[in-house]
Point group: C2
Chain length 347, copies 2
């Protein structure tokens, strides 16, 4: 079989000639800039479709834009992140921007590699989802390229942030479990020691919110935090620790800091021959498809992943258009979705 013959590349000049407009007008439409009327946009888009024009990212890179947005995802297995990604891709669907994901980040070193690769490849903007890097590294990225940090608190003049109110989210869980009559409510947190991350990471805020809410309900003496990690393995090990205790010291409910942690909780409970919610009520955080999955039916906090993704894109496009604008923090309000995994304590 013969490889197809290479065709001459359709250029912006061809598009302008075909649409009978100036190349400047085509460029405006491609950049989604102000000053292009709806009629002009329609004319140019029709010409682009009819000619099969594709902007040449490499060539544009030399002129300053590659129409590429880099998204760093820390863990492709965590079922919460696709929600954020859906919001991002949906918001960019009608633009010329292409999303490319940097995978496999599970530490500062890997994050440095991915973010540097994105800067290096001339991406027009970067969205970092739940990064663990130092503030200094995030600011270095934000200095190089317009940057939005999603799922991490703390403000910087060098990047925008989108997060949910994690203290409120944790309170919703404790309110729900205390309302059902639980007092021995344990929390499985992601272990954190770095002072900046203790202030900024959602996991640390959720643990704070848990403690504050327990106090507010007069349950201070039952505060019980097991420190592992936001992984299935972390939930599994944390629960083994809780279940190894003598019965009066065992919790009757567990607030797992993320749905993926709750997966490990359910695994350990099943392995111990116990049942959810009969022996243990379990609540998660993120309201993933896993939580909504019928046979699991996990009570969880919905932090609106799609909405977070949409906000991240809005902030990023604003900052690409105006690098000098003041940085913005968007905080979204979470809601609780009660399901079958939580009920009244049996004792």
């Amino acid at each position: 079989m013969e490889p197809p013959a290479p065709r001459r590349r359709v250029t912006i000049v061809d598009v302008a000639r075909h649409a009978q407009v100036s190349t400047t007008a085509v460029s405006k439409v491609l950049r989604n800039a102000y000053g292009a009327s709806p009629a002009m946009r329609a004319k140019v888009r029709r010409a682009i479709d009819e000619l099969g024009y594709r902007p040449h990212a490499g060539a544009r890179g030399l002129r300053g834009q590659t129409y590429t947005i880099g998204v760093m995802l820390p863990d492709i297995r965590n079922p919460f992140f696709p929600e954020i990604l859906d919001g991002i891709t949906a918001s960019l669907a009608d633009t010329e921007y292409q999303v490319l994901l940097g995978p496999g980040c599970n530490g500062e070193k890997e994050e440095a590699r991915v973010t540097e690769a994105m800067v290096d490849r001339g991406m027009d903007g970067i969205i970092l989802v739940a990064p663990v890097s130092s503030r200094a590294h995030l600011e270095l990225v934000g200095t190089a390229v317009p940057t939005v940090v999603v799922g991490r608190h703390g403000s910087s003049p060098l990047y925008d942030t989108v997060a949910d109110d994690d203290i409120e989210g944790a309170a919703l869980v404790v309110d729900h479990l205390a309302g059902l009559g639980h007092r021995r409510i344990a929390h499985i947190e992601h272990h954190e020691t770095d002072p900046t991350r203790l202030r900024e990471m959602p996991n640390a805020r959720r643990a704070d919110g848990y403690r504050l809410a327990m106090r507010a309900h007069g349950l201070e003496e039952w505060i019980d935090v097991v420190s592992t990690s936001y992984t299935q393995e972390g939930g599994y090990r944390g629960t083994q620790e809780l279940l190894a205790r003598h019965v009066p010291d065992r919790p009757t409910a567990v607030f797992a800091g993320a749905d993926i942690v709750a997966m490990g909780v359910l695994e350990a409970v099943a392995e111990a021959g116990l049942s959810v919610p009969g022996d243990l009520s379990v609540a998660g955080y993120d309201n993933t498809t896993f939580a909504a999955f019928g046979p699991i039916s996990l009570t969880s906090v919905d932090q609106g992943g799609r909405e977070m993704g949409r906000n991240a894109v809005r902030l990023l496009l604003e900052r690409i258009a105006d690098r000098g604008r003041p940085s913005t923090q968007v905080i979204l309000s979470p809601t609780l979705v009660p399901r079958r995994s939580t009920t009244r304590p049996s004792d």
Copy 2:
């Protein structure tokens, strides 16, 4: 806060001077080319680390290489794909190549957009996971850039392929269920009408393998294929259809063509107030973390996702080094992982 001052970029010349070698030698090490001794590699890598040198992808693009590998994933929610991705990133960890993922592909139009974006951005190689595009489009991509197609059969001189033996995998499931005493074994397939895809897609091969194995076991009259899609929703709808039948016509076992389909099966069974495996044995395909998850414990076919990813990288690097070499097909042998979701039929 002051943004950090921009530093002069470390260049390949600085690295060569620091390592006291030629720039050609540095370039060889960066490209992982032959002719660089281990001692030379160590010297250059040390200089790279000490100077903090980062290859400039944009500049390299002009000389022909961007050290970027594009990976197209059809569905970030399907828990099988992270396995392939792990194999890919692990194999590239010690090279200068960076993996960038193109997300959100669920049709030919979206695949065209992502693959064109990758070609457009000068990626050195592309790995397409389970693409649904026409053969002509895949060959167009393969002509533009070294390409490996993973999880799709059919050979072309213009790209390499890595797939598992899906006919054998389906036979392993039928052997297992027939061995337990099942005769009414239904299969939920991904609906396919395009003649090329019917020959090449794993889903079509699994349906073929199911039919062949049913015949081999003398169960021809019980062949029962429900045609939906390889999604959770597809498994859910397919199972509703099966359970709506009068009991003697209901299957006692279901072979879902993918674990994500089995998720929908489990959901529909639970909703109908029935139990797995008491009322219905269920088997999947892909042996994802979901299948291994204790409370689910789904019998599944392991097609070695990591091994597929590793093979894809090997073939791709070979083809980047030698565009003219003959195309290669790698077929891996699947294995069955029996778990608690399958047992003897109750009747």
